[in-house]
């Protein structure tokens, strides 16, 4: 012991020097990656040449020549592949946004239900979550599409609700609104009501800071939202004409049609993701220690206010990051649409367009970069949010 402690520090061989080793490891790793990359690049070049594929993005300008069952912007068969890509992207975003909204609503209900003092409600929520999160999403999509939507009766025997909503094997039919004479006054009334609520909220907050008295903001807001647009409705007449789908011959006319693929995808994705969101919400609420609730009670806050002012703000800090990653998962899972032929980006662009043009590398690169861009921008947003709400500790 003594000798080693007092001995002059031996330099040892070059190979035991951690700095030399670090450099050597890194050089080897980088060299291996570069060599592997060059190997792939070289093979690709040879293969492309052999198959006579010209790389580049010129194909985006060519005419596509196939029909698409759902397009949010105008499209005809003579339009370009570039437009097909935009339609696919919009369809992906459409199903993601609807799915996110539905899954959030259902998920929050489930999360709260799992903590309910009511035994039956609690158990029902638990059973829902344990059943649906343990079944692959693709299987759920198949179930809703092949076993439910496609086995629906035909248009003539479709299932109706109040004679305005109809569902059959060709999709979901619902009334579509169009502008009527009362539309603009109605819109202005709604905007005015919202502006009024903002003003009331600010004044109420200032009032509470100054005097400690609370002003019933929620009731005032509801009243504003009911009275102003209601008045416009009475004075200027209805804001919308509803075009109700009618059975004409062998199919429905008028209204909005939601294709069965979209219905199945929407149902499956929101039911599946809601189970995860429910767990996220539950763990977030449970993460707020009970002492916080007790402290709020001892300050004299009523249970409702305690929940709103003390528990929820702290729970959100825990809930929001995993919630965003669930949203991201839902968006990525929407690519499972390829399994049932919903025209999303993957099945349209990476499927049909790739098969028609053979531009595998370009098409896959574009598709993957879109998903990468979405997830990287969401994680940047998330990091920013995390920094903003992080607890400042000692």
């Amino acid at each position: 012991m003594q000798t080693t402690a007092n001995a002059p520090r031996s330099r040892g061989s070059v190979w035991t020097d951690p700095r030399v080793r670090a450099w050597a490891f890194q050089i080897i790793a980088v060299a291996a990656i570069v060599a592997f990359g060059w190997f792939l690049f070289h093979n690709t070049q040879v293969n492309l040449e052999r198959r006579g594929i010209v790389s580049g993005f010129e194909f985006l300008g060519q005419s596509a020549g196939f029909g698409i069952s759902q397009h949010l912007i105008d499209y005809s068969e003579s339009d370009t592949y570039g437009r097909v890509f935009v339609i696919g992207l919009l369809n992906t975003l459409l199903v993601s946004v609807i799915g996110i909204i539905l899954a959030t609503i259902l998920g929050f209900i489930l999360g709260v239900a799992r903590l309910s003092p009511n035994w039956l409600i609690r158990k029902l929520a638990t059973v829902y979550i344990e059943v649906f999160r343990n079944i692959p999403p693709l299987l759920q999509i198949f179930f809703w599409y092949f076993a439910v939507m496609l086995s629906m009766p035909g248009p003539r025997q479709s299932l109706g609700l109040w004679d305005t909503f109809f569902i059959n094997s060709r999709g979901l039919y619902m009334p579509s609104p169009s502008m009527a004479e009362g539309f603009w006054p109605f819109l202005i009334a709604v905007l005015l009501a919202i502006a009024g609520i903002v003003v009331v909220y600010r004044r109420a907050k200032a009032h509470q800071e100054a005097t400690g008295e609370r002003f019933p903001v929620l009731l005032t807001s509801i009243a504003l939202l009911l009275v102003l647009p209601g008045a416009s409705l009475l004075v200027f007449g209805t804001p919308f004409h509803w075009d109700v789908p009618q059975l004409a011959g062998f199919n429905f006319r008028g209204g909005w049609v939601v294709i069965p693929e979209l219905v199945a995808l929407m149902l499956a994705l929101s039911i599946y993701t809601a189970a995860f969101i429910g767990e996220t919400v539950r763990s977030g609420i449970q993460a707020v220690s009970h002492g916080q609730t007790e402290a709020a009670y001892s300050l004299g806050l009523r249970p409702g206010l305690t929940l709103r002012l003390v528990v929820v703000p702290q729970a959100l800090r825990v809930i929001v990051p995993p919630l965003t990653s669930q949203y991201l998962n839902l968006t990525k899972n929407s690519s499972l649409a390829a399994g049932i032929g919903y025209p999303d980006m993957v099945s349209l662009f990476a499927g049909t367009v790739l098969n028609q043009t053979g531009q595998a590398i370009e098409v896959m690169a574009v598709t993957m970069s879109v998903y990468l861009a979405i997830s990287i921008s969401i994680s940047i947003l998330m990091n920013w949010y995390n920094k903003r709400i992080a607890l400042v500790e000692r």
Binding site: Q26, L120, L138, L139, N333, S375
Partner: protein
């Protein structure tokens, strides 16, 4: 002197204990809860009786063909007739004992690992992990005296389990290495690992599988052709390894710096301090996260349908399009869901059990 003897305790009032009190506290605590309970009961009444009557009361259980499906409910004859295909895919009938044998080897071989006290458990585990895949590959694929069964004939639940098993055993070590790389002091290694992880986590598995079927042939030299199953396996391993890496990184970050410094102070090098001090603690912390990733992986195996492998889901999908068995989609998918559910639910329960057992009471 008189002695006082206590009278026996009175039972607690009926309003505090017993079934009635439980009912009142848990179901009818307030008017709102009465309403909620009634609503839930109504919901149950809407859902449960139709399902029970469909699945059991009015279902057909015996028969051999579509003509025997006479009841109003489910026709389980379909599942019974196609059971072999759902489990083994197109594996030759007379060779199916090999799959069964592989499963038995797995169960019997892995059994001792679940014993609490077993000498040399770690060595046995490592040995099992090395030897079992070789034995299983030989049994399933053939060669060396057994008839060869190409992977294109593998299918059904067996293929799902193969992908799940290989994916899990491949993704865990790779994921741990990636997590260590991401926390490394060497900038080049760190950049490589971060790029790898973020790339795989950013894209959906389906596009990756697409890529494996349309782009890999371009990447490889002429004449070299990877087996379809192998391509899918590589992609699944890379994809899930990235997720494991992030889970493990969470565990590594949760280990206090003092542990790293203590390991260094003991004179342990990088690999030994990681292997003996840091990782055992970090991995224990993130067991739930790792098992969740495994469950996700197992569910993701169903995506191989996209590149035309006949896993459990695809076998069932094919069977439901058989003209002799039209209209059996619900039965088929319910059966598939049940099988997937059993595996995933089992895994999640086991992870909860493991978490409790390994808990050394550091939790506040």
């Amino acid at each position: 002197m008189t002695t006082h003897s206590f009278k026996p305790d009175l039972p607690p009032p009926r309003t505090v204990v017993g079934p009635w009190a439980w009912l009142r506290d848990n179901l009818f605590a307030s008017p709102l809860h009465v309403l909620l309970t009634l609503l839930a009961l109504y919901l149950l009444w809407l859902i449960v009786p139709p399902i029970v009557s469909w699945a059991f009361l009015e279902a057909d259980w015996v028969g051999t063909s579509r003509a025997d499906c006479t009841g109003e409910g489910a026709c389980w004859v379909f599942i019974k007739e196609r059971f072999g295909q759902f489990i083994y895919g197109f594996y030759p009938q007379d060779q199916r004992w090999r799959v069964d044998l592989a499963v038995w080897v797995a169960i019997l071989g892995a059994g001792p690992l679940f014993l609490r006290k077993m000498p040399h458990k770690a060595w046995y585990g490592i040995g099992f992990l090395v030897i079992f895949p070789l034995v299983a590959f030989w049994l399933l694929h053939g060669g060396l005296g057994l008839e060869e069964v190409p992977t294109s004939r593998w299918g059904g639940l067996m293929l799902t389990l193969v992908i799940g098993y290989v994916g899990i055993t491949g993704a865990l070590p790779l994921g741990i290495l990636l997590a260590l790389g991401r926390r490394s002091d060497l900038p080049a290694i760190k950049v490589i690992c971060v790029t790898f992880i973020e790339f795989w986590r950013g894209v959906p598995l389906i596009t990756v599988l697409f890529m494996s079927s349309v782009m890999l042939p371009l990447f490889l030299p002429e004449g070299m052709n990877l087996d379809k199953l192998l391509r899918a396996l590589i992609m699944v391993i890379f994809f899930e390894a990235a997720y494991i890496a992030e889970v493990v990184r969470g565990g590594l970050q949760a280990i206090p710096k003092g542990q790293y410094e203590a390991a260094a102070a003991m004179g342990l090098g990088y690999w030994r301090s990681m292997g003996l001090v840091i990782l055992p603690q970090a991995l224990k912390l993130v067991i739930p996260g790792i098992v969740n990733t495994f469950i996700a992986l197992f569910k993701d195996t169903s995506l191989v349908i996209i590149i035309g492998l006949f896993d459990l889901l695809n076998s069932i999908k094919q069977a439901t399009t058989d003209p002799r068995w039209l209209g059996m989609a619900t039965e088929g998918y319910v059966f598939a869901a049940l099988l997937f559910w059993i595996f995933c639910f089992g895994m999640s329960r086991y992870s909860m059990h493991l978490e409790r057992r390994l808990d050394t009471g550091h939790k506040r």
